[in-house]
């Protein structure tokens, strides 16, 4: 192959140019994302100073040991479990909903349906969660209906201030987070692909299992992760709809900050962020979310 000096030079020249172009976004990433996280992680190894009510650079793992005391580890597990349950329920509801929006309706109706799903976001989350108290409460709509229909004599107590109420409130609040990425994934499926599958002998469920599901899987995973991450961070639904003193990681962080135990708060935050980052990286690797973009090349 003949030597092409011009080409070589341009390849070499592209390196520093590309690097320079990437610098601003790199700076933003480091400044906004990495540096605060690094500080939080560092301070989580410092100690609380009761004389100054502040932290001092006395290195210690005490805050991490404290994560396993007083049921704090339980809060982690409960929060993760609740978030996983919320994400699972949201995803299970979002797949058929997104399927209707993405596959069966035209683009205009799809936009309308999608907008309908996002309308709840125009009210504050606090108001939405609060509204559930009026629906699920002892004198709420559901109990009133049940009692006037003679199905129950006394109000059903577990409807409100229970894990059920929390789950319902969270699914209602975060369902759109699952629907949007799944709708996008559905929208990427070419009709001809589904037709081809039918044409080659696949019935409805075979088409769904072998074609639709694998193709929307990255969207489903993205939707699950969106809901999971938001649900891990929420406190509103738990405080408004949960039972006495119901907890979550963010409620615990607030409790801890209220008594200025900064190292412990930072340790909790560090663990949460680390675990979520690892989770997202694993999900991205395992399910190759980038495949979404490859398939656009067809």
């Amino acid at each position: 192959m003949p030597h092409e000096p011009g080409l070589r030079e341009s390849v070499d020249a592209r390196w520093p140019a590309g690097f320079l172009l990437a610098l601003p976004s790199l700076a933003v990433f480091v400044g906004v994302g990495f540096i605060p996280l690094a500080l939080i992680a560092t301070w989580s190894f410092w100690s609380f100073d009761p004389d100054t009510y502040w932290i001092k650079p006395a290195w210690s793992f005490a805050s991490y040991a404290a994560l396993f005391e007083n049921g704090r580890a339980t809060v982690f597990l409960r929060t993760a479990g609740l978030a996983a349950l919320t994400a699972t329920a949201s995803t299970l509801l979002a797949v058929p909903a997104a399927g209707l929006i993405g596959l069966l309706s035209g683009p205009r109706r799809a936009a309308l349906l999608l907008a309908l799903f996002t309308i709840p976001f125009f009210t504050s989350g606090l108001v939405r969660a609060f509204a559930w108290r009026l629906v699920l409460g002892r004198q709420g709509i559901i109990n009133n209906a049940l009692m006037s229909l003679g199905i129950v004599v006394t109000p059903v107590e577990w409807l409100l201030f229970s894990d059920f109420a929390v789950l319902l409130g969270m699914v209602a609040a975060y369902l759109p987070f699952a629907i949007v990425p799944i709708v996008l994934a559905f929208a990427r499926i070419e009709h001809s692909v589904i037709r081809a599958s039918q044409d080659l002998g696949a019935g409805f469920w075979t088409v769904f299992a072998t074609i639709v599901l694998p193709l929307v899987l990255p969207g489903i995973v993205a939707g699950f992760l969106f809901v999971f991450v938001v649900a891990v961070g929420t406190s509103m639904e738990i405080q408004l709809l949960g039972g006495a003193g119901a907890s979550s990681i963010s409620i615990m962080i607030n409790d801890v900050l209220r008594v200025v135990n900064f190292p412990l708060a930072f340790a909790i935050a560090t663990v949460v962020i680390t675990l979520l980052t690892v989770l997202i990286i694993i999900a991205n690797r395992a399910l190759r979310l980038s495949r979404l973009f490859e398939s656009l090349g067809i």
């Binding site: 100054t52 009510y53 405080q239 949960g242 039972g243 907890s247 801890v256 008594v259 200025v260």
Partner: protein, 392 residues
Amino acid sequence: MAHSIGNGFPPGVFSQLTRRQLVQNGVFGAGALAVGSLGLPRAARALDEINFWATGTLDIGDDGWRTFAYDSGVKVEFTDNGNDPGPVVAKLAAGNANDIYDVAGLQGGSEKELARRGLIAPWDISQIQNYASVWQWAKDIPYLTHDGKAYGIPTVINADSIIAIRDKAGSVDSYGAIFDPKLKGKTAMEDAWINSVIFTAIYLKNSENAKIAEPGNLTADELGLVMEFLIKHKRDRQFRTFWNGWEQGLQLLANQEVWVMTGWEPIVYAARMRGVDCYYAVPREGYEGWANNTILLKSAVVRGRTKAAHQLVNALFSGFYGCKLGLLRGYVVPTDNNVAYATAHANAFDPAGVRKLADHVKQKFAGKIYWQNTRPDNFQLYETWWQRLRNA
């Protein structure tokens, strides 16, 4: 932080005012600026301006502050600090609150901590002439001073107990109702150890003869006793829920989700307006007294705002503020100047009503009072126990 205020400009009122207004404007929107610069008629003397960062219930509204400025010569820019002492302390310590505000108001107890960290400065009582009129028992609140200096000025005081729905809970005169098995699943407490732990301690001390010296400042053992008691009742599903904030507390009563709960007196008035026949119980164990104290931020001293800050606090006790706050929120400023002011301004305020409110609070404080304390000595231990309660 205070040193960076001039940003290289020579220190002076003008540059500081401008800067503060810019910060306010940027942080809190144009509204604050409009109130400060447009709404105020020119008074004969130059007005001192104070950025007052306090519990939202201390706000007397735009026209209230306008009259306040006429009377006192202090123009107040009020900002709600959210009331929760934890975040307020954090913003003073690690945030920019000390750059923006001159005077803050928050539930008492954190003065010692703030003073020790050099975030607040002591008041010079001699510069607050009206302080002489403050009711003695309010001046005697234990944690107003640190190292013999006055750091907290009790601006609003009240005594809290329990709210009960008459036809459901009957006549309640003890915190024991909260833990009464007959009311299982029909009671609630606040989702905050600051109030719920002291209520329980008051109950155990007085009705179950528990060895508790000071319910507002429990030792580790006392705290364990109180918390085990709470944990047991939580496990027994005694509590319907724990509530956070005004609306949630009110909704619990208004929709009769609970029949008895510890709570704030104004919730009773609001629930009555919603047609719920409830009352504020007079507990035989005594009330939880609390004070919302005014503190002087260190940076205000550095900026030369000390005199104006004292002028502000003095004006809070001069009568108008007490009358206005009582009218707006039913809260009491602990001075007889309120009654005097209302009598002198009978066209604006009802002297009998002002007196009645003052007497009502005085009446509560005539009995047993245990002072709320947002920073008990073992405050971090309170949190770990609260965490155990959450997980029980």
